[in-house]
Amino acid sequence: MADDKDVLRDVWFGRIPTCFTLYQDEVTEREAEPFYLLLPRVSYLTLVTDKVKKHFLKVMKAEDVEEIWFEYEGTPLKWHYPIGLLFDLHASNTSLPWSITVHFKNFPERDLLHCPCNSVIEAHFMSSIKEADALKHKSQVINDMQKKDHKQLWMGLQNDKFDQFWAINRKLMEYPTEEGGFRYIPFRIYLTMSDRPFIQKLFRPISPDGHTHTLGDLLKEVYPVAIASDDEAKRYQVVIHGIEPLLETPLQWLSEHLSHPDNFLHISVIPAPSD
């Protein structure tokens, strides 16, 4: 019987095979070969695409290069969402590798945040962790940590060091046994067809009468449309890390095991494939 610890490993080492192609209108000196890469699901696009950038810059003139950005089938990809989330949200149920178009011009100011350097990603990542801990432990755990622990979390993610990251992160996943879970579950629910970026509410892992809340309970409360009633066909898929957990999965367990390194449970609700 596999252990729960294996889930953490599987989540961390999740990879998406990706094919980067340069946008056709970009001006190049010679033809740009596509670039193939295994992207870590839990990382951020701009953090792991140095090689991509280097690859395409070789065929471009420096003056034609502005800030890099990525797009999939017309949708600009937000770098501040974890890669796995972007994939689940926009490209699940499509054939692999994931085909991403690389742009160096016409930065879509309305859709994307600028990402001039890695410290911006770090700031975003750390603020997510802090927000998550505010929900989980009233920020007590993260505030008790030293600066170097914070750094270790970030370095763990940046260098894909599972042990280094989890050596610290496990403290963020602890809770008093008598309470049976976190104060609130840090989660975000993303919908493809909504204008809202995501849904986020206060939700406890345990009901007032002591029952364990499940993924189904959360959806019922927050986005009941996602749950198909018995008589109708499934309209939506609820995807976390590329898998569809059963609705009776306890939310606390999900939060401990299927959260992204930013300590949030990123849940994509996408239309079920019609076939």
């Binding site: 019987m1 596999a2 252990d3 729960d4 610890k5 294996d6 889930v7 953490l8 599987d10 989540v11 999740g14 990879r15 998406i16 095979p17 193939y36 890469l37 295994l38 992207l39 870590p40 990382s43 792991v48 695409t49 090689k51 692999l96 590798p97 940046q158 260098n159 894909d160 060091k161 042990d163 280094q164 989890w166 050596a167 496990r170 002591g210 890390h241 590329g242 898998i243 569809e244 957990p245 059963l246 009776e248 999965t249 306890p250 095991h257 299927l258």
Partner: protein, 1207 residues
């Protein structure tokens, strides 16, 4: 913590017990009488019934209470008759006790009471001091009384032999009447109150209790002679009093308080080991002079009282020196009575609702606790007809899961066949009563057709309700009255729904309805009228159980609770950390189901979890497996962790020096992670370093002592030298961080993760730390095995003294406090947290051990014995050797993990015996001591003991309730599939036990089968072909005959003579080999074993300096050896492996030395990996795990570079 019971009596006199692991009051069905009061301890419960007689309920145990009666048959030789029973007139009786002074004819032995039975007839004991005698069991001497020998000599004029017979206490789990006999006839008046305790006063004789009782006239009686072998005690003795007593309370220790008629309290003083009934009373005033006290309850060091206005009071300042305390503190709450249990926990019955309350937050530092919390669990007597559906299915669910199989009652069949119109109505009524609101007695006129609802949930319960009504169908008529007036004339029988109809007479009030099990229900259903729907039963059964349980919620409002009259927590082992399921019945039920099975917890097998594992697997197949040739986005880099530590430097003078310490981790070839540890130090102003490759580290050993947080790093080379890298971290936390990190790193580099394999070799250090090693096939290869100093050991959480395993993965351990633990299949625990530990299967583990110091005195002519010794003498307070000073104040627990749990107390259980004050005498230090003073004795000493406790976590779960001193599991062969795995054990009292129900899925088994012996045992081992060998405490060996799968306990013991002049200590049996170790450290091999003569013929000496032996399923021999020479130092407690053991040469040739010293135990009984027979180099290399080092040449001086160590 083992399950224990809280006892209570309700106002109708019905006795109930509530288990610490349970969630409902169980009616004590055997109580045919109503009871007034109870006083419970862990092993039994005493009560006063409505007839004012005292009854005793001894809890049944897997080990029966048996008592050995003995008599000696004496004979004298004369020329005419040879040896005959014609003795000289000056001689002893023909039949006598051991001294010969008392006449003991065999037919003069009578059972002490009707509660006892003989186990068998008299037989001759053929064992004489560990040696077998000739047939007939005679021992010879020149004359009475003299030294007896086995051999008949020319001058042997007398002989004697010992006859033994066992009697057994049979009245367990039933209320046995205790005769009200005083020393001079029957007691004058009946009893009114009773209190039991005092077991902490003395451990000898075992199970000793004090029982205090109050008569109606206010007299106090003390019952003496209660201990394990005489649970009923001997007789009542009156205790003189300053007034008339109404109530008395006796704590576990020496605290006894009583309430006088006038409302004051009296405290017994002078209670000691030698005088458990005490000497005098001291009067203490009532908390409120206006309002007298009506009730008192005492614990080890607490006294609680209740005054006539129901106010609760707590006595301040109670301790062993001041049993009277210093003052009263008023507490919140109004109670009618209070009971103090183990660990000074408190229960009470409130005045207002007569519910049982538990005092929360009582700890050793806060004895008065924090708040009262009502115990709110249903009673199994709470069943009403209208709710029988849900409730009964609840019970059936319980029975189903607990695997309790009880025979279906014949009585129900009887009532089934009875054609009773009333019954039919009832049956129909019940069948439509799925919604509990439909009250049976309310609509008896509605004989609706029996069309059960077919929604899956209600289905099984519907069928159950059908059964229900059939079962107690005949009783249906009486139920409505019962419901209205519970506890009137009919209340003598168990609770309302339990009333048995006349047709069921003769039944001992056994609640048949509570033993309905689902399986039965389903078969019933298949053949019943509803057979057409039988197919759906399987799928719905579980869901219905769950529904019913949740449905229970509404059934027990607080109003339904009957009134309680008395509660006794004296046997209830809880403390402030215990998780009790008594306060919220719903969550309690679900959790209990999770806790029921050890190895298969529903959480583990839950569909959602399986789904996640499966989908993650699919995901990696889909997204990664086909794209492995893609480049990784992030390049792997080196990760370094640094710190400062102290290092016990390698060269003389050895001392702690500050060093910088770093671990560099990187991805090695083949994706395995690897690393190097560096240790930077200064030598002669020069910067040097020492390093070790992580993949060459063989073990990391925590060496906690009270001053430094030390751990040792071994490599194969360092193991040879008996000189590890010893490091000390600044704090315990830092040490644990490093140990966990290094350990994960070592495991990663060797590709080891998850729980140990079934073949793993387990070992334990003298600190109780548990290590496990994955064996390589080449370990037992011949002629070139892998040296065992290259074995990699990793730590497993927990604390044990001994561990035993077998090759199918059943692992048991024993703690220092003799608690038995079963391995749960997890890994990690202890300081391994987060990733290095499994999430499930890790539980809290505690262990208790005693620390001993010695008080030494010398006699001088003026003052007698004093603590002033000669200048040359040892310390007056010392350790056992006398070399180190150990005072009460300065002696600390062995490591920071241990905390004191008792005070220092004189230890009377020292070998050699002691006098009444615990002293042992000798002519001078250091010599052998004896327990009595002679003229030649000038020094004396006594041992003081103090218990300390350790709490940790590990993949272990307790197997209550019997403490064990040894355990052995059949080392199943490679392919053999054994349904029931034979497991034998020795209890800490020396009883031989055979565990039933041990399987792969239930490694803890179900119950013990007691195997009778004539003397206590200490070691046992079961080997191939179910050969069971055991060692008795007197050092003799025994072979158990006819043990087989069909007859798991065998039939009789064969006494095997020990090696000449040696007392054996331990035995281990492999496939065919039998090895023993004696008390002088010799290792013996049993010669001449054949299938037809499995006892063998003689002992052959193999080796000395052996502490323990473990023989594996392939007859491989491993030992713990003492005095192993390394290049740096000598070590004691070293793991050694016998080389050259082959089928034709089971004794092997030489020893190979592995990890040590400081090792205490090893078991290789799981390792059934056959070594490759023919050693082709290519073959063996292929067999090794790729990451092991065995294939590489031994790294020379890997730890000694940096050129400084040579100095």
């Amino acid at each position: 913590m083992p399950v224990s019971l809280l006892w209570a009596v309700d106002v109708y006199g019905r006795v109930f017990s509530l288990s610490t692991g349970g969630q409902q009051w169980e009616h004590c069905c055997d109580a045919v009488l109503e009871f007034k009061r109870l006083t419970a301890v862990q092993q039994c419960c005493w009560g006063i019934a409505c007839d004012h007689h005292i009854y005793l309920n001894v809890h049944a145990s897997d080990v029966p209470i048996r008592y050995q009666e003995e008599a000696y048959e004496n004979q004298r030789w004369n020329p005419v008759d040879n040896f005959s029973d014609r003795l000289l007139p000056s001689d002893r009786w023909q039949w006598s006790d051991i001294t010969g002074l008392e006449h003991k004819p065999l037919d003069g032995f009578l059972l002490p009471s009707t509660n006892w039975e003989w186990e068998g007839d008299w037989y001759i004991d053929e064992n004489f001091g560990g040696e077998p005698t000739e047939k007939g069991g005679w021992t010879y001497a020149i004359d009475f009384p003299a030294t007896y020998t086995i051999d008949k000599k020319w001058n042997s004029c007398v002989r004697r032999r010992r006859w033994i017979r066992y009697r057994r206490y049979k009245a367990t789990d039933t209320w046995a009447k205790i005769p009200s006999e005083g020393q001079s006839g029957p007691l004058p008046d009946p009893f009114n109150d009773i209190s039991c305790g005092g077991w902490e006063i003395s451990e000898e004789p075992r199970g000793r209790l004090s029982l205090w009782a109050v008569s109606l006239q206010g007299k106090v009686w003390f019952r003496g002679g209660i201990h394990h072998h005489t649970p009923e005690g001997m007789s009542w003795e009156e205790v003189s009093l300053p007034g008339e007593v109404v109530q008395i309370s006796c704590g576990p220790g020496d605290l006894v308080w009583a309430v006088l008629w006038e409302g004051q309290l009296i405290v017994r003083e002078g209670i000691t080991r030698d005088c458990p009934q005490g000497s005098s009373w001291v009067v203490v005033d009532s908390p409120n002079p206006e309002v007298g006290t009506i009730h008192v309850a005492v614990g080890v060091s607490v006294v609680w009282a209740v005054t006539k206005d129901n106010k609760v009071w707590f006595r301040r300042g109670i301790n062993s020196h001041n049993p009277c305390g210093s003052g009263w503190i008023g507490m919140v709450g109004e109670m009618v009575m209070i009971s103090v249990g183990l660990n000074d926990q408190v229960w009470a019955i409130s005045r207002e609702d007569r519910a049982v309350y538990f005092r929360q937050g009582v700890t050793s530092t806060e004895l008065s606790g924090k708040a009262w919390k009502a115990v709110s669990v249903p009673r199994d007597g709470d069943i009403r007809p209208n709710s029988s559906t849900s409730t009964s299915s609840l019970h059936s669910a319980g029975c189903f899961f607990s695997g309790e199989v009880r025979a279906q009652s014949v009585m129900s069949e009887d009532s089934d066949t009875e054609a009773d119109p009333q019954r039919a109505v009832h049956e129909v009524g019940a069948s439509v009563s799925s919604p509990p609101s439909v009250h049976l007695s309310n609509d008896p006129e509605a004989p609706k057709p029996r069309i059960p609802k077919v929604t899956s949930d209600s289905f099984i319960s519907e069928m159950l309700s059908d059964r229900e009504t059939k079962r107690d169908g005949a009783a249906a008529t009486s139920i409505p009255e019962e419901e209205v007036t519970p506890g009137d004339a009919e209340a003598k029988s168990p609770p309302p729904a339990l009333v048995l109809s006349p047709s069921q007479s003769g039944g001992p009030g056994d609640p048949q309805w509570s033993t309905v099990d689902l399986e039965e229900a389903q078969t019933h259903l298949a053949v019943g009228p509803a057979a057409g729907r039988g197919d759906s039963s399987d799928t719905c059964s579980l869901s219905s159980v769950v529904t019913c349980m949740l449905g229970l919620e509404g059934l027990y409002g607080p109003d339904d609770h009957p009134l309680w009259a008395w509660v006794s927590g004296g046997g209830c082992a809880v403390d402030c950390h215990t998780q009790l399921n008594w306060f919220n019945s719903v969550t309690a039920l679900t959790s209990s189901i999770q806790a029921m099975s050890l190895s298969v917890s529903p959480a583990q097998t839950a569909a959602w979890r399986k789904q996640i594992f499966e989908q993650l697997n699919e995901r990696s197949k889909r997204e990664i497996d086909n794209f492995k040739h893609y480049e990784q986005a992030i390049e792997q880099s080196v990760w370094v962790k640094k710190g400062t530590m102290q290092w016990w430097r390698d060269w003389k003078p050895h001392k702690w020096v500050d060093v910088r310490f770093a671990l560099e981790q990187f991805s090695g070839p083949e994706g395995h992670k690897d690393g190097i540890v560096f240790l930077y130090y200064n030598f002669n102003e020069e910067k040097k370093y020492l390093h070790a490759f992580i993949n060459e580290v063989t073990i990391l050993v925590p060496v906690l002592n009270d001053s430094k947080h030390t751990f040792a790093i071994y490599t194969a080379e360092r193991t040879k030298q008996r000189w590890p890298i010893k490091l000390a971290a600044a704090t315990e936390m830092e040490m644990h961080d490093w140990l966990a990190l290094l350990s994960v790193s070592c495991c990663d580099s060797r590709g080891i993760q998850g729980p140990p394999s079934k073949q793993a070799i387990w070992s334990i250090t003298c600190k109780g730390d548990i290590f496990v090693s994955e064996p390589w096939p080449s370990l037992e290869a011949c002629p070139y095995p892998t040296p065992c100093d290259q074995m990699f050991w990793r730590q497993v959480g927990g604390h044990l003294r001994l561990v035993e395993c077998n090759s199918v993965g059943v692992v048991w351990g024993l703690g220092y406090d003799h608690t038995a633990w079963v391995y749960t299949g997890g890994y990690g625990g202890g300081f391994f947290q987060g990733l290095a530990s499994s999430t499930d299967n890790i539980f809290t583990q505690t262990d208790v051990k005693s620390v001993y110091i010695y008080e030494n005195q010398r006699w001088n002519p003026v003052t007698g014995y004093t603590s002033r010794g000669l200048p040359t003498d040892r310390y007056m307070w010392s350790d056992a050797t006398g070399l180190h000073e150990c005072t009460k104040a300065s002696t600390k627990p062995p490591s920071p993990h241990w905390t004191w749990v008792t005070e220092w107390a004189v230890d009377y259980g020292v070998s050699g015996g002691t006098d009444r004050e615990g002293w042992q005498y000798a002519a001078d230090f250091p010599t052998s001591y004896h327990g009595y003073k002679t003229l030649k004795d000038f020094v004396r000493r006594r041992r003081w003991a103090r218990k300390c406790k350790l709490t940790t976590t590990g993949p272990w779960q307790e197997v209550p309730p019997i403490p064990l001193s040894d355990v052995t599991i059949l080392p199943c062969g490679d392919q053999s599939v054994v349904e029931q795995i034979p497991l034998w054990a020795i209890s800490n009292k020396g009883d031989v036990l055979c565990r039933l129900g041990v399987t792969l899925l239930t490694p803890a088994g179900t119950s013990w089968l007691h195997v009778g012996t004539d003397q206590p045992f200490k070691s046992i081992s079961i080997g191939g072909a179910s050969q069971v060998w055991a060692i008795a405490r007197d050092g003799s060996a025994f072979y158990r005959g006819s043990v087989s799968t069909q007859n798991p306990a065998g039939d009789c013991w064969y006494h095997i003579p020990s090696p000449a002049r040696q007392k054996l200590k331990q035995v281990s049996v492999g496939r065919t080999s039998v090895y023993t170790v004696d008390e002088n450290g010799n290792l013996w091999y049993r010669q001449g074993l054949t299938p037809s003569y499995p006892q063998g013929s003689s002992w052959e000496h193999i080796s000395n300096n052996v502490r323990k032996v473990s023989v594996g399923p392939l007859d491989q021999v491993w030992i713990i050896a003492d005095k192993v020479q390394g290049s740096h130092s000598l070590s004691c407690g070293t793991v050694c492996h016998r080389l050259g053991v082959q089928p034709m040469e089971p004794k092997g040739q030489a020893w190979d030395y592995g990890i040590g010293g400081g090792w205490d135990h090893i078991t290789v009984r799981g390792n059934n990996i056959e070594a490759p027979r023919v050693r082709m180099p290519s073959l063996t290399d292929a067999l090794r795990p790729p990451s092991t080092l065995a294939a590489r040449p031994l790294p020379a001086g890997n730890t000694e570079n940096g050129n400084a160590v040579q100095c």
